[in-house]
Amino acid sequence: MSAIIENNQLPFSAKFLQFYKDRTLLAILLSLFAVMFIYGIFFTENYLTITNFKAIIRDAALYGIMAIGLTFVTLSGNFFLLSLKETASICGVTFAMGMATGFGSPDLAGNFLVSLLAALAVGVVSGVIQGYFVGMGGNPIVVTLGGAGILYGIGAWWSDNLVINFTRPHDAEWLGTGSFLGLPSITWSFILIAIAAEIVLRHTNFGRKVYLVGANKAAGKATGHENFSMAIIVFTICSVCCAFVAVAFVAQMDSAQSNYFSAEFGSSGDMTILVIATVMVGGNSIMGGYGSTLRTSLGAIFIAMVDNMMVLQGFNSGPRIVGVGLMIVFSIIVFGLFAKGSRAQE
């Protein structure tokens, strides 16, 4: 009520600011896009080629899919999972086990569908268990920190910490290295998953519930949408996304190991922090209730773009990690300053 009254008395410049408060981060992100793009065109060789853009989107797809899953968790107000890369690694180990040995029965060895279902099932189980503990009132950070150690331990125990190989003509090639209409399959799945997630969040009952529970837990509880079931569902969605990425990655590499996603994955630092960075750089509110998967996808492409440019300029991993770290801190501080006086203060 008071906000409405204040709004009417504000001068024009303040009204302008208020109107663009929501869109500011998106605008900043888009302008940074433009700056990067122009800089890349003029100062980096081989930047403006179709192959390079395909490479950027392909890079973005791997952590973009995981980040879309994580967006559900973040929007529902459960912060984030610290067990992303461990979930991915145990699912990858499961998939490779299925492709290589068929879980003990030689008939099933190399059966793509069984391996995929097993990997997804492992993802669902880990998501449900972690979500259960979080829904019971545990802190998401601490629960998933413990879950990360357990998942990694089980994955390494199961595979004896060895690399599991399977030979090249296999059923999963179309997912790993195949392409359709000139784009790799993983890029297509990124686009499809992004569209599906956006539709689910905007136009279904469940999606609106995610926003409601994230924006106001008490109101959600009062209207009968408790965080208990919500936590289980969103954690499961996130873990299944991790499992899918793991399957695609393992299918590409023809092998799996329990620490494939740990150090120096692709670009900067470890996978978990990179995915969390993607969600934050996109400008989603980490307290929940504000943001969208579209922002996350843009964030993923932006990080991939910056990283790609730094690689082309010949930077080592140190400056690249500093670059991504600076992007996260910058976006957090900008978002925090703009949201000051509203929800960020709780």
Partner: protein, 344 residues
């Protein structure tokens, strides 16, 4: 003494921590013959010098109602700085520079958190990556090494059978921080903003001062842990030491802090760190691979979380039950009054 025992038995979490650490110790003491010996005790105290500090750092942050995820990166950065500067400047000056950098980083984090009023997990995820990158930059993506490995001998010589200068310093830090948190105004402020932030702010406690102090302390402790590790092994890496976050969190939670803040203490942190040390040292004897250590440490964390959550749920149910009982009582007494009034 009697007072002390009464205090411990009243605090459920602390007594659970003592029980847990006792159980772990007895389990290994029964199964491994040499576990109860001078050398093993020395080794446990040596590990305590590192894990205890990280546990203490996280305990202070969690008491303030926040959690510091950048502890591993901060320690790695400090280790890289100290190891790199020991050759040109000598160990003491290098240690001072490294520790002041870590403390400054912690204080800056605390200032940003209090200034923007943002949750610490959000900003420390960013600094986790940023500091790791800075450490890699300083180390030039290589493993930094001392040229003279005799330099750090002064922190590992045995003193008084069980101790080394490192572990003695850490115990001294524990006592100082314990006194600071318990008996000074600034320490009590940290408890206040953790336990009931809204009430504390309304009562006139500035948010910035305790937040900066808490994060500066935690940065100092993380930096000291990194210094000890770096000097002991003589090497440091930009990407190392990430396991400290898990170990420190387990130590803090076994020690009885509550994620809601305002609960726990230095004594609990010490007991928690000792429990993790017993576990790690005991597992060494079974010659297990590294991932098993991580697995068992995480299982310990899950046990503690389940216990804490259960006790919290149980407490709230009990409170609700007693509330309902009092409401019932009042209702029946009112009804009786009404009845008697009508009857008359």
């Amino acid at each position: 003494m009697e007072n002390f025992i009464k205090k411990i038995t009243k605090d459920v979490d602390l007594s659970f921590a003592i029980l847990l650490s006792f159980c772990v110790y007895v389990f290994f003491a029964i199964n491994i013959e040499v576990f109860f010996s001078h050398n093993i005790s020395f080794a446990i105290l040596e590990r305590f010098a590192v894990l205890g500090l990280v546990g203490l750092a996280l305990t202070i942050c969690i008491i303030a109602g926040e959690i510091d995820l950048s502890i591993g990166s901060n320690a790695a950065l400090c280790a890289v700085i100290v190891v790199k500067l020991t050759d040109p400047l000598g160990a003491p000056l290098a240690m001072i520079i490294g520790l002041s950098v870590s403390t400054l980083i912690g204080a800056t984090q605390g200032f940003v958190i209090a200034f923007i009023r943002i949750r610490a997990i959000v900003i420390t995820v960013g600094t986790l990556m940023l500091l790791r990158g800075v450490a890699l930059l300083i180390a030039e993506e290589k493993t930094v090494m001392l040229t003279d490995f005799r330099v750090p001998d002064f922190i590992t010589t045995k003193v008084l059978m069980y101790f080394s200068p490192a572990s003695l310093t850490v115990i001294f830090i524990f006592i100082c921080v314990g006194i600071f948190m318990r008996y000074t105004k600034y320490g009590r402020e940290i408890y206040a903003i953790g336990g009931a932030r809204k009430e504390a702010l309304t009562a006139g406690i500035p948010l910035r001062r305790p937040m900066i102090i808490a994060f500066a302390l935690s940065g100092f402790c993380a930096g000291f842990a990194g210094t000890v590790i770096g000097l002991k092994s003589g090497t440091a890496q930009g990407l190392g030491l990430q396991y400290l976050l898990l170990a420190g969190t387990v130590a803090a939670f076994v020690g009885g802090v509550s994620i809601l803040g305002g609960k726990g203490g230095v004594l609990g942190a010490a007991i928690g760190a000792l429990t993790v040390n017993f576990l790690n040292t005991g597992l060494v004897f079974y010659a297990l691979q590294v991932h098993f250590v991580q697995l068992f440490t995480s299982v310990l964390l899950v046990i503690v979380i389940v216990f804490q959550t259960m006790s919290r749920v149980f407490d709230s149910r009990q409170a609700r039950k007693s509330l309902l009982a009092t409401i019932d009582e009042r209702k029946t007494s009112l009804l009786e009054k009404k009845r008697s009034a009508l009857g008359r």
